[in-house]
Amino acid sequence: MSVVSRGFTGRRRDDPKLPPGQYLERGFPVLQAGPTPPVNTATWKFTITTETGDTTRWDWKQFTALPAEDITTDIHCVTQWSKLGTHWRGVSVDTLLDGIETNATYVMARSYGGYTTNLPLPDLRDGKAWIAFEYDGKPLQPEHGGPARLLVPHLYFWKSAKWVTGLDLMTQDKRGFWEELGYNDYGDPWREQRYQGD
């Protein structure tokens, strides 16, 4: 049973689209561990590496020539803000994985600047994840992960790695940057899986 905080009534903007413990944010907060890395589309590369070490690589021109989709989705940050109905454009991870042979069950997403985050591979398949390069009709800004970030909106947003440059397919789960520091391996906002053990 929770303790009651005397005099607290709250704002009561409950919305069925808000997962437990989240509040509605209209701005777009930025969360990152360090400076925004400079990422140039002239040298940008995106690489998928399988568990056997096979690599498939795209440069910016090849990547942006792939079929892209418009995505409208809610996003949920572990620091309690949620943003509803955000608009993105990106390439489905299904498109990128098409033709790649793998028995992997997990993925480590890797970013320019050294950030990593781990996810189960099925969470990136079947239209659930994208490499996004536009937000609200404009090129994705560097502080929001531009030129391209992973977008996995059904998990807490730290899983949507900014400045993503590759996916390493793994047969065993391994912890990424925040996960090593105590954040949840899976991060389902509807089950409030913020930290290890949640």
Binding site: G27, P29, A33, G34, P35, Q80, G182
Partner: protein, 287 residues
């Protein structure tokens, strides 16, 4: 690049307000008794959960202001416009009131007391809170490293912990504080207080900065700088060059504040030659 994992599952603990202290017109420190609190690394934060009588609850994250202690911590909360939780903590809560919290959270933006590098701390507004925890811990563990705090606030009235920062920088030769007043175009120090002034009459010392304690008894941490000094305006390459440790000293850099401040500060730092890997950032608020 990651530190060791947090070993424990984070459970909700009951915090009881022992004392409140207004720091500025809009920021307040809450001193909390938290049985079961294990202590923390300076820089870490907690999640606070408030629950109304009918069970409605709201959660927000707040940086810890105090140095590590068992069963005890201090939060300094800046009230934000329309802030559901901050307005409760900064205005309504009084001694004896209770809420829940869990933590400590965030092992990245955290200082390890055995880190031998000098500390370069950059604060924007209430971003000073986790940096104050580092400064307090630095003294508590008698760390021999030098500390520079560059603290950007709107005006002198918006500075949190001013008395304590003055005292600490006067008492310790290791600590230098630089204030940046972003809402002032010029300012000077009079005997009693800092006042905005379009006519700067005193000759600037140290290339344009104005000493607040010109008769300083101790050896300053940065040669040529008084222990507390300030500039009008925002953080710039010029201010960094005049006040911060040079990149060659390889300081551990912590920048905390609103997103715009942290973005600007970390861009300036990288441009000045500080390696990105040495810069840890924590941001709050939408940009």
């Amino acid at each position: 690049m990651a530190r060791a994992a947090l070993p424990r599952r984070l459970t909700w603990l009951v915090a009881t307000v022992r004392e409140t202290k207004d720091e500025t017109a809009t920021a307040r420190t809450l001193t909390l008794d938290v049985p079961g609190w294990p202590g923390h690394q300076p820089g870490q934060h907690v999640t606070v959960k408030l629950t109304a009588e009918d069970g409605y609850s709201a959660q927000r994250s707040y940086s810890i202001a105090s140095a590590s202690a068992a069963d005890y911590l201090e939060l300094t909360v800046q009230r934000v416009a329309d802030g559901e939780v901050s307005s409760y903590l900064a205005e309504i809560a009084r001694p004896g009131d209770q809420f829940e919290l869990r933590g400590p959270i965030g092992g990245w933006f955290a200082w390890q007391q055995d880190d031998p590098r000098p500390l370069l701390l950059l604060a924007g507004g209430s971003g000073v809170v986790p940096l104050m925890s580092i400064i307090r811990a630095h003294e508590a563990v008698k760390s021999p490293t030098s500390v520079q705090l560059i603290y950007s606030a709107r005006t002198p009235d918006d500075v949190i912990y001013e008395d304590e920062l003055s005292r600490r920088s006067r008492m310790s030769p290791l600590i230098v504080v630089t204030y940046l007043y972003t809402r002032l175009t010029r300012w000077r120090k009079t005997a009693a207080k800092v006042t905005p002034d379009s006519q700067v009459t005193s000759a600037p010392k140290h290339g344009g900065l104005f000493s607040r304690h010109q008769a300083h008894p101790a050896e300053p941490a940065a040669p040529g700088l008084p222990p507390v000094h300030g500039y009008a305006g925002r953080l710039s390459a010029d201010v960094l060059a005049k006040t911060a440790f040079p990149p060659e000293l390889n300081p551990a850099v912590y920048a905390c504040g609103p997103s715009g401040f942290v973005e600007a500060a970390s861009d300036l730092l990288v441009a000045a030659g500080f390696p990105a890997i040495s810069i840890k950032t924590e941001r709050f608020g939408p940009n």
